[in-house]
Subunit: 407 residues, 2 copies
Amino acid sequence: MQTCSKERVQNKIETFAQFGDTGNGGITRFSLSKEALQAREEFVKRMEALSAEIVTDDMANMYATIQGTEANLPRIVIASHVDSVRNGGNYDGILGVITAMEVVETIVTEKIPHRYPITAMIWTNEEGSLYPPAMMSSGVVCGKFDKAKMLASKSAEGKTFGEALEESGYIGDEINRLNPKDYRAMLELHIEQGPVLEAEEKQIGVVEGVVGMVNYRIRTYGQSDHAGTTPMQYRRDALLAAASAIKYLHRELDKLDSNLVYTTGEILCHPNVHTVIPDFIDFSLDARHKDPEVIKQVVEVIKNMPKEFDKCQVKYEEAWARNTVDFNDELVGFVQKSADAYGYSSKKMYSGAGHDAQYVADMMPTAMVFVPSKDGHSHCEPEYTSVEECWRGINVVLQTVLEIDKK
Amino acid sequence: MQTCSKERVQNKIETFAQFGDTGNGGITRFSLSKEALQAREEFVKRMEALSAEIVTDDMANMYATIQGTEANLPRIVIASHVDSVRNGGNYDGILGVITAMEVVETIVTEKIPHRYPITAMIWTNEEGSLYPPAMMSSGVVCGKFDKAKMLASKSAEGKTFGEALEESGYIGDEINRLNPKDYRAMLELHIEQGPVLEAEEKQIGVVEGVVGMVNYRIRTYGQSDHAGTTPMQYRRDALLAAASAIKYLHRELDKLDSNLVYTTGEILCHPNVHTVIPDFIDFSLDARHKDPEVIKQVVEVIKNMPKEFDKCQVKYEEAWARNTVDFNDELVGFVQKSADAYGYSSKKMYSGAGHDAQYVADMMPTAMVFVPSKDGHSHCEPEYTSVEECWRGINVVLQTVLEIDKK
């Protein structure tokens, strides 16, 4: 069994951790920022040293390719992103790019024969931290988002994504975009961003797809009055009604499938003054499950919710929804076979978080590999996966590439 | 029975409604703003026309006095404020000043004999809208607040109250402050700011005091994790815990005295992102009752609250508290007697809201008169009390002054 180099993996993690280092164990590296451009330069330097040919497309996505032994075969691409959220960690995204670089480096330095060309890729602006939405470039390349709208996306400071793209110097030709004709498959390694692998003591997550989700806004309507002068019986308190609605939703949703996850993460209160009875609450409900039937049941629970709690009207509105994405069976099988070949413990699972791979999956064969996240933390500075765990995941990607290459 | 003039009351309401008119039926008239100074000029013009002698004190509180027939008697003062909250109404505060002016005008024009000097007064910065806290000047004059600290109070734009005071041109001598030697009693008429008088079809509120209150912050501590990747059984959701705490508090507090009012008006959620499980909630609990025993029971409920809801720790902290203030029995009796004399329906009640009169009550005999608030609305543009209702209240204050004058 071929393996990559643990020392090199550690060196890559430590090197990229410098670009946007917050000094607190994490990074802030917004897409196309100075720090993100430093990461791109490091990628170029390392890939050029391996004689890879580098191109970019019109969204500044980067492709570094080494040729295979057979002519006219499409490429196998390993991809992720180098940008982060504010005060993010050293693994989300960047570990997938490190994986791509390390697989190529191992193949080159170990002279592992391969028929297909192999590409290490960086997706631009996966997090959407400065320029929303998330997964912007994969959305454009895979036909989910309108490019003109994306170019107009503005940061809080008023700069557009289009301007940042121009300034970056990384704009290339649209013809270089990832596409199903020139590419055989895409693989993405990512940290789990949840506690399951660690809790179940599994080394590898064999990702079967990305769960579908719905996102609702739930609103309660009361009456604002003075906290000191309004007897209880005259009150219509929107926050009390929201508390009742949250408790009700938990009670009802807990009756559904045990793999369902749902979250009321955001709450807005008006006027939000301690001496005034709230007249309006707006809270979010995010629910995710791989089975569309369970999502339907969630929607039924919301629709059957009482129209009134505590004398306050309750309304709901679907903010957005996405269907479950299933990854390519053959590729998922290769990931499983590769993990087994190394003797790594593994678990088949769906991703609860979104990834560029979910858009790509609609266009061409795609699969993902997860490695454990310490305490399930992600999008924060304590985000951590040991070098050993990263190394195992990268080995699985290496072996999966070689499995694809066999056919 | 002497009565004041309904036409003059209407004219005064309409005139003062111009100073800070929002165009939506209400006013924004922050203390010492251009609009508030216009209101003061109007007060000066009208009081000088009645030959009142006007002085101000070091907090720019204004005193317009007409002499009585007997020498060396202390003054009877009728007082309220001309400042408002943002997008406030045409009655809160200003109606008490209009009352003072109209009582003096009636006494002067009707040549009603009176032994005591009578003072119409404006308190500076009751609302504390730009320069917190509320009831700032009465707090200073009555020894509740440190003057130097108050002068340093800053608006959001960075101007201090001391600077605004200097610029106003209304600073006078500290010796002119309201005090128990030179003043016999203070009366304040105010809108109820609640729905009780209207609902019970009472024309006059005979205010016996201002209820005591406690204000707590209640906090729940959970764990932030990704909404899509964290199974329900691993979660510690601070918002779910807060919803449970709010429901628990309502259940327990509803068992206490039916005159208790309590409010959870403000809620803060961290990180307040729809894709993240909340790790921290902080909400307010404001509880008011005239009986300190009931307030003690409220504190007991808070202290006996479970230390944990939904696997999240729950903590509480007292933010502040104030004791119940009882107004002067003799004056309250005069108010009741006056309302009865006119044949007005009335209700003895405690104020749930704070007023300058509550600080003054600790220094000298004080009483308040309430008139109904349409739909209980206050601190908003729809705030409304009919001219007829205002007029009745002012008559009660006039008669109360004359009752005091008899002794």
